[in-house]
Subunit: 120 residues, 2 copies
DNA sequence: TGCAAGTATAGACCATGCTCTTATGTTGTG
DNA sequence: CACAACATAAGAGCATGGTCTATACTTGCA
């Protein structure tokens, strides 16, 4: 599919998709048979990648980290133990984030209680 | 205390503290009696605020959101129901983040399993 | 064939959150 | 009183993650 369709299917703007491509997160392929243009073609994996980027970004991963994750996910540049190491690292950092969120939740809840009693 | 001590006590650089002050997150007070300088003086609340900024930032709150939180926390610009509303909103957004983190954890764990079996 | 819609590249511009430099004035200790 | 250490303000510069504009070429349909 071309960039327009990719954009429609993922809800990510063409501009942002191009930005991600320039950043090395996704790669379209040009059709060697077609010489009249140099349009990029995208596959289903790219749709999945963009969904992953969207989700991972929303939980605070940087594009750099997401890139590492996707290398473990979609490419064969890494050996299996290397892939597992990357995934374990991300799992750990997620646990750490959850822990910090729990702490902040406790802090805010505690303060909320204080505000409530203050009103009596 | 002056900015140098505030910096030492919080581990946040003087530059960054000044940036937060310019952004409206903290406010030093000038001593009206002293006319030879216009140094800012900071209180204990400011130390707590900077700790809160550090923690809240690390879990993905923006400075704008942290500012709202601190208005509910430290000032009396908001009524008690308004304060509670702000706190509830932040608690909800924390729950949402935790939920998303759990989902991403499941996704990555699932993929890890696939990578592991692939190696057999 | 003309024209709208799509595509590419290059680069300007923006918000957030710093980080540092320059310039200048103040304070405190030997 | 010299001088280091501290303070101020103003503003430049930077990394990240976009967002948009300009320019120019290609494609597909009436």
């Amino acid at each position: 599919m071309l960039i327009h369709e990719l954009s429609k299917r993922t809800g990510i703007t063409i501009h942002t998709i191009r930005f991600y491509e320039k950043s090395g997160l996704i790669q379209g392929k040009r059709d060697a048979h077609v010489k009249s243009n140099n349009y990029f073609h995208y596959d289903e994996d790219t749709v999945e990648k963009l969904a992953l980027i969207r989700d991972a970004k929303s939980i605070g991963f940087t594009l750099r980290e997401i890139g590492q994750l996707m290398d473990a996910w979609f490419t064969n540049q890494l050996s299996i133990p290397e892939k597992i190491a990357v995934l374990d690292e991300k799992l750990e950092s997620i646990d750490e984030k959850i822990k910090q969120l729990m702490e902040m939740k406790a802090t805010i809840s505690e303060f909320k209680k204080r505000v409530e009693t203050e009103s009596c």
